[in-house]
Symmetry: C2
Subunit: 229 residues, 2 copies
DNA sequence: CGTCTTCGGAGAATGTTATTCTCCATCGGG
DNA sequence: CCCGATGGAGAATAACATTCTCCGAAGACG
């Protein structure tokens, strides 16, 4: 149609305003409905995960729980992975906000970053007791097949750490060899993954699980000994 | 049978020597055959992975390629995951040996560890061009479902880094707050995971992929600035 | 040498999920 | 009141892993 052609030119302003508004109006209701449904699916999935204490569920379970249909599910999500990504993104965004807030309470930039790292580590632990699990294990499943999406889900958290790291840099507390955002990325990923890997209870030795202190020590100062700067 | 009962006592020395030898003889052939077959499966899987440049293959493909049967496969492996673990273990062991050898060439402990970390990072990159890919991505798939096995597959590599780290500690170059083996574990896991996560080509910004230098900087000195010790 | 047992090959059958498809009721607009 | 679109219910399909069944060959033993 002509409409399609105009859209293809990517100049929406060519479109008569009344037409846009008409489309908008007829679309709005549908959009709201869709948002509600998506929300229902997400909530159902959350519930199931919390109940089972595990992050592997079937699409069917989610559908049943949310009293909707498979068709509806695939109408709102491109596939299971989108649901997973949505959950992951939500959790990460919420957690990022909490961390930002908590870190902001610290005046010393380094102390703020420390708070952030500690919180991130603890909420990334695969402990089901946490009320806001980060579903870090999703990430590793999805990382292989949908790397770009996972990265964009990480974005809010990365932003928080980039801010914190930049502040640390501003007071001259960051290694000169590292750019803040890249340091933030390394820290964030290391912390999340290290938390994930503590899932593995060591059998040979005793207290394998890493502690928050160790992780903070490692991230801030690496393993090498150095005089206090 | 009586034999079973004796075995159940887990005192094999009660068993008459001649009997052990007899069993041994009749078992040996079977064992050799089994080892050969397992080897064939492993090689077929390796080939497929190298050809496809991807680590996801079906059991059927491996069976076809190795000119054997599904039944035979499941007779030698408890499931696909065991094949994966075997590949992962092999790759990791081989790589661990290479790293140990290369690091041993350095006299300075810290330099040895640096070599080790750089090699580990580079061989963990998901680049298919490497002739000995570490299959790090297997690890993340398996970590969730078979944590203990993954840990034990990590063991040889962990040993190498524990040795290197202990040497660093011996010359007083390790942070006093970290035990060598635990530092080694954190370093190893961080490096492997960070390499894995570079798979994600950043779209928003330019040179997202981490460099070996950055990773080494981070591992050795953390992000915080400090005077040279 | 013939039979018997066991081992393992081939590949059909099963089970589990994700994903798609088909049919049909409903509902809002003309 | 009819019509076309929307979306519900759930059957059909597809892709795998895993198991099962049948059957022939290779020794073991009389």
């Amino acid at each position: 149609m002509a409409q399609d052609q105009e859209l293809a030119l990517s100049t929406l302003s060519d479109e008569p305003a009344w037409k846009q508004r008409a489309v908008e109006r007829s679309t709005k209701a549908a959009r709201l409905r869709a948002e509600r449904k998506v929300q229902q699916f997400l909530e159902a999935a959350q519930e199931i995960i919390l109940e089972k204490g595990s992050t592997d569920f079937t699409v069917q379970e989610v559908v049943d729980r949310s009293h909707q249909s498979l068709r509806s599910f695939y109408q709102h999500f491109g596939g299971k992975h989108e649901l997973l990504l949505a959950l992951f993104e939500n959790a990460l965004r919420r957690s990022a906000d909490e961390i930002r807030a908590a870190a902001a309470a610290e005046v010393d930039p380094l102390a703020g970053l420390e708070v952030g790292i500690r919180m991130l580590f603890e909420s990334s632990l695969p402990d089901p007791s946490t009320r806001h699990p980060l579903f870090t294990d999703f990430a590793t499943q999805l990382l292989m097949t949908y790397p770009a999406e996972v990265r964009s889900a990480h974005e809010p958290m990365l932003s928080v750490f980039a801010e914190l790291m930049t502040r640390v840099d501003a007071v001259g507390q960051l290694r000169t060899s590292l750019r803040p955002r890249r340091a933030a990325a390394m820290v964030m990923q290391s912390v999340m993954f290290l938390a994930q890997s503590t899932a593995v209870a060591g059998e040979s030795e005793g207290a394998h699980p890493l502690t928050t202190d160790e992780v903070w020590d490692f991230c801030s100062g690496g393993f090498a000994r150095h005089a206090e700067g």
